[in-house]
């Protein structure tokens, strides 16, 4: 009897460990997470517009239908990424996610404070390699440190009324996300 009780206690304790390990492992082993769903339909290091969410098909669950959405799936191992997003009339935002969907940075048109949101995305190592003076001259250049080399940038433009959706989509269509192959010029 005592033996059986001990077995149950040991089982539950072990179960606790299994639970913790599986919760921590789930983001890494999930096959239907947002990145995996978007990988087949988006281009690497380029902007891809997502189709409008409708009842029959939506690329992701819980998408806001009032927004035009475009994705830049990035891989920084080849070099930093330069992102340019023209601001639409109503509201535009840019959110950065790691490969495992951790939202580590997001900015909207008002906090960017300009007609065009311009950002450089690089890993911490690439940021450290930037020439010192470059950092100073580029004071108006926003540099984001990515915690992982791969991930997603989500560009969103609001259509406050359904009729304004083409405008929101046009704003995103004019945005770009590309590798900075050559080192950025020293003078700007």
């Amino acid at each position: 009897m005592i033996r059986l009780l001990l077995t149950i206690v040991a089982g539950v304790l072990l179960g606790g460990i299994v639970h913790l390990v599986s919760v921590l492992a789930l983001p890494r082993i999930a096959t239907q997470d947002a990145y995996s769903r978007l990988a087949p339909i988006t281009k690497l290091n380029a902007v891809t517009s997502l189709p409008q969410a409708d009842p029959g098909s939506a690329p992701l669950p819980f998408m806001d239908p009032a927004f035009a959405v475009a994705i830049c799936r990035y891989d920084l191992s080849q070099g930093p990424i330069k992102l340019t997003v023209p601001v639409s009339q109503a509201y535009t935002s840019v959110s950065f996610y790691t490969r495992n969907e951790v939202a580590y940075y997001a900015i909207n048109d008002r906090s960017a404070g300009r007609k065009v949101i311009e950002l450089d995305l690089m890993t911490e190592a690439q940021h450290a390699e930037l020439p010192e003076d470059e950092d100073v001259t580029a004071a108006d250049r926003l540099i984001i440190d990515a915690p992982t080399a791969a991930g997603l940038i989500v560009l969103k433009a609001l259509a406050p009324e359904p009729g304004l959706m083409p405008q929101a989509q046009a704003a995103l269509a004019a945005s770009s996300c590309k590798l900075q192959t050559e080192p950025a010029p020293a003078k700007r």
């Binding site: 033996r3 059986l4 077995t7 149950i8 040991a10 089982g11 539950v12 304790l13 072990l14 179960g15 606790g16 460990i17 299994v18 639970h19 599986s22 919760v23 921590l24 789930l26 983001p27 999930a30 239907q32 997470d33 947002a34 995996s36 769903r37 969410a53 409708d54 009842p55 939506a58 992701l60 669950p61 819980f62 998408m63 806001d64 239908p65 009032a66 109503a90 509201y91 935002s93 959110s95 950065f96 996610y97 495992n100 969907e101 951790v102 939202a103 580590y104 940075y105 997001a106 900015i107 909207n108 008002r110 906090s111 997603l152 989500v154 609001l158 259509a159 406050p160 009324e161 359904p162």
Partner: protein, 192 residues
């Protein structure tokens, strides 16, 4: 022989308990870092790098992308103010005011996060298109059949979720109470 049996029993129990608990927390979510105001709950930390492991697991499982903190915050509701689950066959009224935000959207989803088909192609409202009364408050009727004013069709599905997303808002990780964030009330008014 007995030792093998007991070890196997313990290991089986561990698997069932451990994976069962993981499945429960990943599908239903936990109360870790939730902000509850009336019938609405939000997890502002899911939009930051400080996201807790349970929220990460549930996001990985569902496949959604959380709203980033610099972008906004999402409140969801699956029951009304009296804890009654939202039923698509009933008339539900969402009324009142929303917290300060440059824009907000109210969207209706089924339990798996898909939009619900309807002939109007009306899946939600934005703060700009909603019809308000003179004092700035609004009233949305969530119902299966067409209603006057702001009608949000449910398609008659049994269970649904409402998601109110605030964009460019001071509401976030530091928000605690109704006073910081006055959320609209949700009331079931009529059920067939």
């Amino acid at each position: 022989m007995r030792l093998i049996f007991i070890t196997l029993l313990a290991l089986m129990l561990a698997t069932v308990v451990g994976l069962g608990a993981t499945w429960m927390t990943a599908t239903r979510g936990t109360d870790l870092g939730t902000l509850t105001i009336g019938a609405w709950t939000a997890r502002p930390k899911t939009g930051t790098a400080d996201i807790d492991p349970y929220s990460r697991a549930s996001i990985a499982r569902s496949g959604e992308l959380p709203v980033g903190t610099g972008d906004g915050v999402a409140f969801s509701a699956t029951s009304d103010d009296r804890k009654r689950p939202l039923d698509g066959r009933c008339d539900v009224v969402v009324s009142g005011v929303t917290p300060a935000a440059r824009f907000w959207t109210l969207t209706l989803y089924d339990s798996r996060g898909r939009l619900v088909a309807n002939s109007l192609q009306r899946y939600g409202f934005t703060s700009q298109e909603i019809v308000r009364s003179a004092d700035g408050s609004f009233e949305v009727r969530v119902a299966a059949r067409s209603r006057a004013g702001n009608w949000l069709p449910t398609g008659g599905i049994e269970r649904y979720a409402l998601v109110l997303r605030l964009y460019d808002t001071p509401v976030g990780v530091a928000t605690r109470t109704q006073r910081d964030a006055p959320m609209p009330s949700i009331a079931t008014v009529a059920c067939p």
